[in-house]
Each structure stands twice: as structure tokens, then as C-alpha cells.
């Protein structure tokens, strides 16, 4: 084995189409940072990529413990990269605990880069190892590179006058430098960015980290045992790009929507994983006239939005399943008041507290049906982290145009994973025209636009439009309180018809591949990437399979039934127990085949590919 690697190092770097690398260590090891820096460098060199951090549920789990391991996975490639990758090919571990937690996911014959210094007797004990896996032969099936990252850092930083602890904290940059060399990334921009990052706060640390990075890079350069790879640039649509996580894209999308509509953005929000980052992002945007208000609970989050919306703001709230449950009553009020409002549900594993930092798609039926009485509202879902930007604007558009609360579903996977996002030109974005009612002539609060069925938005402060509305049923014409039974039925019907009519105002369901045939894979939400990769591979292998993705779940695009019926079978992969399948049967009387994974983790490309294979068996 040693001999093979030696040869590999001497040969020109091997070309790779893509690679999936996972970094793992204690929360304090800085693995997220290393992963993100490698991601940025890969983007700079023209690769497509996707990333996903993995945080422990505990904030400060004991150092060295299995529960304290955090990670970061990254896939970059010379082709379109749809997901952060199923199983990593390379595992970079800083400690025995990190190895133990992640080894099961490493591909057979995968590569392990281990920080040998970190495998002390104490650390081995904490991780429950009775002997050192780096030396006891138990990793024989893998390509193991045990490197003293800590020692390399110490040597490189000798004479800088840093304390031992501070030197030890630089070892993640040694690892970063090493990977830069291995994957043929240019070191100069990184060195400059490290120095720039610390220039203000502590130039000495900047120097230390730069030296650590260099030491790692040089080590990989000079050692003969480490392989070298080259991942050529992918063909990517030209433009300006930045990294966004789904939560960042959601915050940006909401702010952009407010600008496009010429309204103030109000966010009423109560902290809940994995949605809270949206509040953090928006709290920074005061200069955009964003009011990001931390409420006392989710009930206040949604109801304060109702107040802000009554006052003429673009009101939004972000939450996760348990919070959405608390918002249910308020949402029905918003349905009754017919006020615009955007709710972003960043779904997580449940029920109850469930798996609060993990992903799931199990709020779909709750989003569509989860309110008392006849209380319909539009439900949308974002497909990728960057798509969260577009879909928040779409949710705002529908809310404002139809005077209705709108629910946008994202999830823990989209929320935290990042991908390069082509920053749109302002002119590419839709105008969200809002016309506040000012003319008192013929005004009645529930007189509807004949086309959209939306009622007028008449905000306080407008002379002559003083009016009172509330949760009580209203007269169809005057909007005054009405207990008339027939009127009630008419109001229920018109509220439903308004929402159903949105189907005429959304993009039809598009099919990738042949428009009819044996098998259609239909997804919604964050399964998009895995489905694309699986279907793409199947088609490349000559399989007859098509793909479609729903971004509007209520109402469904008009042509959904027709599209589905053109295929002999429809496979619906979901991170739940088959909720879209049920919804489709209920709405369209179409039967589907489910691939239901409820393991609070994203769907894997491999499991979808397998299912496609199985369904295409003659």
C-alpha cells in the first residue's frame, strides 16, 4: 500500500469528477471553519459544490466525548453538484471520538486523515477505544494518514510567543493547508484572507494561522505518502456568486421582497432550532428598515405579525414544527382577516422536541390542513438553499396579491447547508405591486377584487377608511359582523376559491426528461438535490426515468394530475411517512409509490437510485 501511494504522489495529480470530504472534531476544533474555507476556495476555482454542517444538540458537550463531535461535509466537483454527498470518500478527524462517530459513514476503502496527536490515551478512553485504531490494524480497509497536526503547528509557530493552548488551536489551519495541497487549491488567496480576517482583532493570530496553513501545505507538498488530486472547474452559469445557507437566503429573500413591494419588513420571531438564524440575519438589517422583533412566544410572533400587517407592513415569522403548532390559531385569524403574512416553517425531526437540530419534512400535512375549521392557505416549499431566496419572494408575492397568510416550508437540511448562489440582478426579480386602498368612495373592507378575490388593504392612518374587522364572520358585501348561515357558507366558499384560484397564477409543473413513460420521480422541498443526482445518474446510464419537483403544494400546479397520469408509476421520495403521497391521492386520486425515509437526515442519492432501479426491473 505504501508503495502505491508513493507512486501516486510522484505522478501528476489524479483528475477527479467530484469528491466528498467530511471534517469532524470537537466543537472547539474549528472544523466548520476549515470546511467552509475549503468550500470557498473550491468555488473560487470554479467548482460547483454543496456543504452541510452537523452540530451536536448540546451546546457545550464535554471535550473529547462522542456527543460533542461536530462535523462539516462538503462535496465539490467538476460537474453539477446537487448535494453535500451521501457517504464521504475522505474523513478528516481531529480526535478518536470524531473517528468513532463518523467511521461508519465512510465509504469502503475511503481515506482517513487523522490528527495523530489527538489520539492520546485519555482521548482514546473518552471515545471508548481500548486500543489505538490508528495502530491496531482495525482500519486496515482504509487508506489511513496519521499526521501530527499539533506538532506541525508547534514547529511552525515556534518563536511567535504564543501560549501552548493558542498554538494548539491553530492545528485546524494545518489541516486546511494540507487539503489545499492535496486538492490543488491555490494557497495565496487563502493566506491573504487569513491575514485579513485577523488584521483588525489580532494580527498575531493572523500570522500564526497563516504559518500553520503554510506548514500543512508544505507538509503535503513534501511528503510522498499523500495523494494529490485535481478537480477541474465545472461549467457554471456566469455571474456573481456568493455562498448562502437556506436560512440566509430566506432572510435575504424576505428583505428583498420588502424592497420589491416598497414596504417595511417586520419579522416577529421566537427562537427555535433550526429556524433562529433567520432572526439573527434580519436583526442585522436595520438600515433596510427591517424590524426584527423577538417576541415572548410563537403566539405573539404570529399575532404581532397580524398587527404589523394590519398596519401595512410586509409581515413575516419564522419557526419550526412546535412553533407552528402554537401559531395555528393566529393563522386562522389571519385567514379570517385576509391579511398578508409569510410564515417560514423550517421543519425538524418530531413530534414534540423530537430531534431539534435534525431535518425532516413531516409538517406538510400540518401546513396544508393544520388549522381549525375551513381555513385554507397557500403552502410553498423551497427546493435548495438558494431556492429559499426565490421562494420567500414568491410567498410574499402571493401573500400581498391575494391578501392571505402563506406558509413556506423549508427544513433543517436546507437551513444549514450552503451552496453557491448566483446573485440576481435587481431587474430579474419580480415587482411585487402593492396598492393600498385610499379612496373612501364605495369602500367596504371585504369587497373583493373580481379577479383575485382579494379584499382591499386599507391601513390605519388613511382618512375616511376607518373600519373594524375581526375574527367574527363577516357579511359578504358590507364586511359587517354576520351570523347568517347562508352568508357563512358563501364566505367559506369564497375564501377557499380565492386560494384555489392561485393555481392559475403559478408556474405549471415541469418535467425533466421525457414527458411520459415508465417512471416519474416526483419530489418536493429539500429532496430536490438527491433526486436530481439519482435521476441524472440513472438517465446517464440509459434508464428511462423523468423527474418533476413541486414548489407549490397548495394549491398544486394546475397540470399536476395530468403530468402524473402520463407515467405508469410515480415515485415520491420524502423525509416523512408518505405525506405528499397522501396529499396527491386526496387531491388528484393518483396513486404513487413512496420512498419514505424518517431518519431525520437528508435522503441519500444512493437510496433513491436503488429504488429507481427496483421500480424499473422488468
Amino acid at each position: 500500500m505504501h508503495h502505491d501511494q508513493e507512486r501516486a504522489a510522484q505522478q501528476p495529480p489524479e483528475h477527479l469528477e467530484s469528491v466528498t470530504i467530511r471534517f469532524a472534531g470537537d466543537s472547539g476544533d474549528g472544523m466548520q471553519l476549515v470546511g467552509m474555507e475549503l468550500a470557498k476556495a473550491s468555488a473560487r476555482q470554479g467548482n460547483d459544490l454543496a456543504t452541510l454542517p452537523n452540530y451536536p444538540a448540546e451546546i457545550r458537550a464535554p471535550a473529547g466525548s462522542l456527543s460533542g463531535v461536530s462535523g462539516f461535509q462538503l462535496q465539490f466537483g467538476a460537474r453539477r453538484v446537487y448535494t453535500p454527498g451521501d457517504k464521504p470518500e475522505v474523513l478528516v478527524v481531529m480526535s478518536p471520538a470524531a473517528l468513532k462517530v463518523n467511521l461508519g459513514e465512510l465509504r469502503p476503502a475511503g481515506m482517513i486523515i487523522a490528527n495523530r496527536d489527538g489520539f492520546s490515551d485519555r482521548a482514546l478512553g473518552l471515545a471508548g477505544y481500548s486500543s489505538n485504531p490508528l495502530t491496531d490494524g482495525s482500519l486496515a480497509g482504509y487508506a489511513v494518514h496519521a499526521i501530527d497536526l499539533g506538532t506541525l503547528a508547534e514547529t511552525a509557530l515556534d518563536g511567535l510567543g504564543l501560549a501552548h493552548k493558542e498554538v494548539a488551536r491553530c492545528k485546524n489551519y494545518v489541516a486546511l493547508g494540507l487539503l489545499f495541497r492535496m486538492y490543488d487549491r491555490a494557497p495565496e488567496p487563502e493566506l491573504a484572507s487569513i491575514r485579513a480576517r485577523f488584521a483588525k482583532k489580532n494580527p498575531l493570530f493572523g500570522e500564526a494561522n497563516a504559518r500553520a496553513f503554510r506548514a500543512g501545505f508544505d507538509y503535503a507538498e513534501n511528503t510522498e505518502t499523500l495523494p494529490r488530486y485535481h478537480v477541474p472547474p465545472a461549467s457554471i452559469r456566469p455571474g456573481r456568486y456568493r455562498h448562502v445557507t437556506g436560512n440566509q437566503a430566506t432572510a435575504l429573500g424576505l428583505t428583498a421582497a420588502a424592497h420589491l413591494a416598497g414596504l417595511r419588513l417586520y419579522l416577529g420571531s421566537y427562537p427555535i432550532s433550526p429556524a433562529t438564524e433567520i432572526l439573527h440575519e434580519l436583526a442585522l438589517l436595520r438600515q433596510h428598515r427591517v424590524i426584527a422583533f423577538q417576541t415572548e412566544d410563537e403566539i405573539a410572533a404570529v399575532t404581532s405579525c397580524i398587527g404589523a400587517s394590519f398596519g401595512g407592513a410586509l409581515a413575516a415569522t419564522n419557526t419550526s414544527g412546535p412553533g407552528l403548532a402554537l401559531m395555528s390559531e393566529g393563522l386562522s385569524l389571519a385567514v379570517m382577516l385576509e391579511l398578508p403574512l409569510v410564515v417560514v416553517d423550517v421543519q425538524r425531526g418530531g413530534p414534540s422536541t423530537g430531534l431539534p437540530t435534525k431535518t425532516e419534512q413531516a409538517d406538510l400535512l400540518f401546513a396544508v390542513h393544520g388549522r381549525h375549521a375551513e381555513s385554507p392557505l397557500p403552502v410553498l416549499a423551497a427546493a435548495t438553499p438558494a431556492d429559499c431566496f426565490e421562494m420567500t419572494i414568491e410567498a410574499s408575492r402571493i401573500a400581498l396579491k391575494y391578501m392571505t397568510p402563506v406558509l413556506l416550508l423549508t427544513d433543517g437540511f436546507l437551513a444549514l447547508s450552503a451552496e453557491p448562489w448566483r446573485i440576481p440582478e435587481p431587474a430579474e426579480l419580480p415587482r411585487l405591486k402593492v396598492s393600498l386602498r385610499t379612496d373612501p368612495k364605495g369602500f367596504a373592507p371585504y369587497l373583493r377584487d373580481p379577479k383575485t378575490l382579494a379584499r382591499p388593504w386599507a391601513v390605519p392612518g388613511t382618512p375616511g377608511l376607518e373600519h373594524r374587522i375581526g375574527g367574527l364572520e363577516k357579511d359578504f358585501v358590507t364586511g359587517a359582523i354576520s351570523y347568517d348561515p347562508v352568508n357563512h357558507e358563501r364566505m367559506v366558499e369564497v375564501r377557499a376559491r380565492k386560494i384555489a384560484g392561485i393555481a392559475d397564477d403559478i408556474a405549471p409543473l415541469e418535467v425533466q426528461g421525457k414527458p411520459e413513460g415508465e417512471l416519474l420521480v416526483l419530489g418536493w422541498g429539500s429532496t430536490y438535490g438527491a433526486i436530481c443526482a439519482a435521476v441524472g445518474a440513472a438517465r446517464a446510464a440509459g434508464k428511462r426515468v423523468s423527474q418533476a419537483h413541486l414548489r407549490h403544494l397548495n394549491p398544486l400546479p394546475r397540470n399536476t394530475g395530468e403530468v402524473l397520469r402520463r407515467f405508469r408509476r410515480v415515485l415520491v421520495p420524502e423525509n416523512n411517512a408518505g405525506q405528499l403521497g397522501r396529499l396527491l391521492r386526496e387531491e388528484l386520486l393518483v396513486d404513487t409509490v413512496g420512498l419514505d425515509v424518517v431518519q431525520a437526515r437528508p435522503l441519500k442519492v444512493g437510496e433513491i437510485a436503488e429504488k429507481i432501479e427496483e421500480l424499473l426491473q422488468p
Binding site: 456568493r242 417586520y266 436595520r286 438600515q287 424590524i291 405573539a300 404581532s304 375581526g470
Partner: protein
């Protein structure tokens, strides 16, 4: 139409212009009528155009209030009015946002929202109609029902200790806390005016008679013969005197430092020994003591217990926004999209 919507330089508004014309659906004799009348009387005197007023309410008899005023109004869901009003006031600080709520609405289901509005000092004017009963659902105990009070849900007498809305408000650091009673329209009108002029959250508890389910709950306070002995009408800077002859007073016992009722002239006690009301005291101690006074041992305080100044929440929010715009420039779609670390793909 614009001539019916005067701006401050047009003739002042009249009470009539604040009547919505909707038939009022409270039971005949309900104490809420008096509150409505006083509010309709007070609003035109404030020099604020009618369209600037918004009344927000929750659920309960008192929460029908917005329907009877020709202003903007939102009749919402149980307990949430302070939260809804907060969202409105934060985004539209120039509006006059009032909240009409009841003892069940504000103190039971909506207790959380109430305390947070108070501690933040959002510019809301909250009228809390306290009738010590659930009226709309026909007679169950409320958080202010007294011990032993027979209700439909406590047919053998209420065993839940009632809470004092005023103590609760003070505990939540409220900057304005006052109490009045439906049957004293003049006092009620004065209190409403004080509420209207306060900067920050103002909480006015109004003892309101529910003729149907809890009639004469405040009867003792109003009885001609006893009322002078039972009411302690607070006036800022004045000694705490009460009684028909104004011969009784309140002082802190020099020995136990707890409040006690004293008779002027007896044991050489003069007015100088009495407590002097200071609604502006920084410490809420005196107000707390007053909020805790209950019959039969003590008179019931009416008036402003506390009126202090503290930064007003929405003003702080908007001031921070102004500074952000001043230092970073007003955000635009372009600046939003242009922010952050980016790279070019050619």
C-alpha cells in the same frame, strides 16, 4: 369625504364622530357602556385625527369595544391583543394604539403578552375591564374572582386566590398604572385622559359591573353611605386621606413598616404623619403597597398609582434604525444583493 376627517387645523372633532353607529350589544346596565361613553368623550379632546386611532381587542364582552368606535379597529383572538397591538405600534409608531381587554383575556389566557408589553413599555393604552367573572361564556371564575365567589365553574365558591392586575403590572415594571370604576364617570374620564397622554404602556384597570353574572361586585365601593370610607382617591403630592369627614388616613406603621389606617386627631396623629402620594417615585414600592390594599381592612385605591418615564420601546427601535441608516446609508435592493463575500464566474 375629507371634510369629515379633520386635521388639527380644522374644527375639533366631536363625540358623535367617534360613534360607529353599530348597535351596542352589551346587556342593558352593563358597566361597559360607561367606559365607552367616556372614551368617546375623551378621544375628540386629544387633538388627534380620527384615522390615527386603532382599537385592538381580544375576546370577551369588553373586547366588543372596537366595534362601537368609528376608528380603525381589530377584534382578534383570546388574550392576544397586546401582542397584535405591539406589532402594529412597532411598525406604525405614529398611530394611537389602544387595547380593550378584560380580566380573563388579559390576565388568564393573555397574561404572557400583557407582562411583556408592560416590561417593554410599548406605547399602548390598555383599558382592562375587570368584572371578576367570565361574562361572554356565561359566568365562570376569572383570575380576579374573589375567594368564595360562587361561579358556574366554582359552584361551591372560588378557591383560587385572585390576583391584582395592578400588582402584576407593577411587577412587570409598568410605567403607568391606574384604576378607576365604571360608576364614577368623572374620575374615569380623568383617568382616560391621563392614559391618553402617557408615553409608554399605560394600564388602566376599570372596575366594571357585570349586571348579569356578578352584579354589585364593587357595590361596597359605590354605596352612598360607605363609599367615602371605602375609596382612597389618590392625588399626586397630596396626603392619603379618606372618609366622609376626610378624617382617616394611611401611614406606614413606624414599628412594622406596613400600611395602617389611622384616625386624624387620635393619639395625636396629624396630617403630617400620613403618607403623601407620589406617583412619580422611581421606586415602585409605594405603588406596590397601594396595589395590595384590599377590603375590609383597607380602602380601595382609585387613581394613578404610578406614572414614570422610561424610554418608549418603539421610539428606541426607530431611533436605532435612524442611526443605522445614518451610518450605513439607507438599504436598497442593490446594497442588499451586493453585500457579503462574493466571486465572479465568467
Amino acid at each position: 369625504m375629507s371634510d369629515t376627517n379633520p386635521t388639527p387645523n380644522l374644527p375639533p372633532l366631536t363625540r358623535k364622530e367617534f360613534e360607529s353607529g353599530q348597535s351596542v350589544r352589551w346587556c342593558p346596565g352593563c358597566g361597559s357602556f360607561s367606559v365607552l361613553a367616556q372614551v368617546q368623550k375623551t378621544l375628540p379632546t386629544l387633538g388627534v385625527p380620527r384615522e390615527k386611532f386603532v382599537f385592538v381587542s381580544g375576546i370577551g364582552c369588553s373586547s366588543r369595544f372596537p366595534y362601537y368606535l368609528n376608528t380603525y379597529g381589530l377584534h382578534t383572538i383570546h388574550g392576544r391583543a397586546p401582542a397584535i397591538a405591539t406589532g402594529l405600534k412597532l411598525t406604525r409608531p405614529e398611530l394611537e394604539v389602544w387595547v380593550a381587554t378584560g380580566d380573563g383575556d388579559a390576565l388568564s389566557i393573555g397574561g404572557n403578552h400583557l407582562i411583556h408589553a408592560l416590561r417593554r413599555n410599548v406605547g399602548l393604552k390598555i383599558i382592562l375591564f375587570n368584572n371578576r367573572i367570565y361574562g361572554m361564556t356565561k359566568g365562570q371564575s376569572s383570575p380576579t374572582s374573589v375567594l368564595g365567589q360562587k361561579t358556574k365553574s366554582a359552584p361551591f365558591g372560588n378557591i383560587d386566590l385572585p390576583l391584582s392586575p395592578l400588582s402584576l403590572a407593577l411587577g412587570a415594571e409598568a410605567t403607568f398604572v391606574a384604576r378607576s370604576i365604571d360608576a364614577e364617570p368623572k374620575h374615569l374620564g380623568e383617568m382616560l385622559e391621563r392614559v391618553a397622554r402617557h408615553r409608554g404602556t399605560a394600564l388602566l384597570e376599570v372596575f366594571q359591573n357585570c349586571v348579569v353574572f356578578n352584579d354589585k361586585a364593587f357595590g361596597g365601593l359605590l354605596d352612598k353611605d360607605t363609599k367615602a370610607d371605602r375609596q382612597l382617591v389618590l392625588e399626586h403630592g397630596k396626603p392619603m386621606l379618606f372618609g366622609k369627614e376626610r378624617s382617616k388616613g394611611l401611614r406606614f406603621s413606624p414599628r412594622t413598616f406596613t400600611p395602617e389606617v389611622v384616625e386624624l386627631g387620635r393619639d395625636g396623629i396629624t396630617e403630617a404623619a400620613l403618607l403623601v402620594h407620589d406617583e412619580r417615585a422611581t421606586s415602585p414600592g409605594l405603588a406596590f403597597m397601594l396595589a395590595g390594599l384590599t377590603p375590609p381592612d383597607f380602602p380601595t385605591p382609585l387613581g394613578v398609582l404610578r406614572a414614570v418615564e422610561r424610554p418608549v420601546y418603539e421610539q428606541v427601535v426607530h431611533e436605532n434604525e435612524r442611526i443605522a441608516v445614518e451610518t450605513q446609508g439607507l438599504g436598497s435592493l442593490e446594497s442588499l444583493l451586493g453585500a457579503g463575500e462574493s466571486w465572479e464566474v465568467r
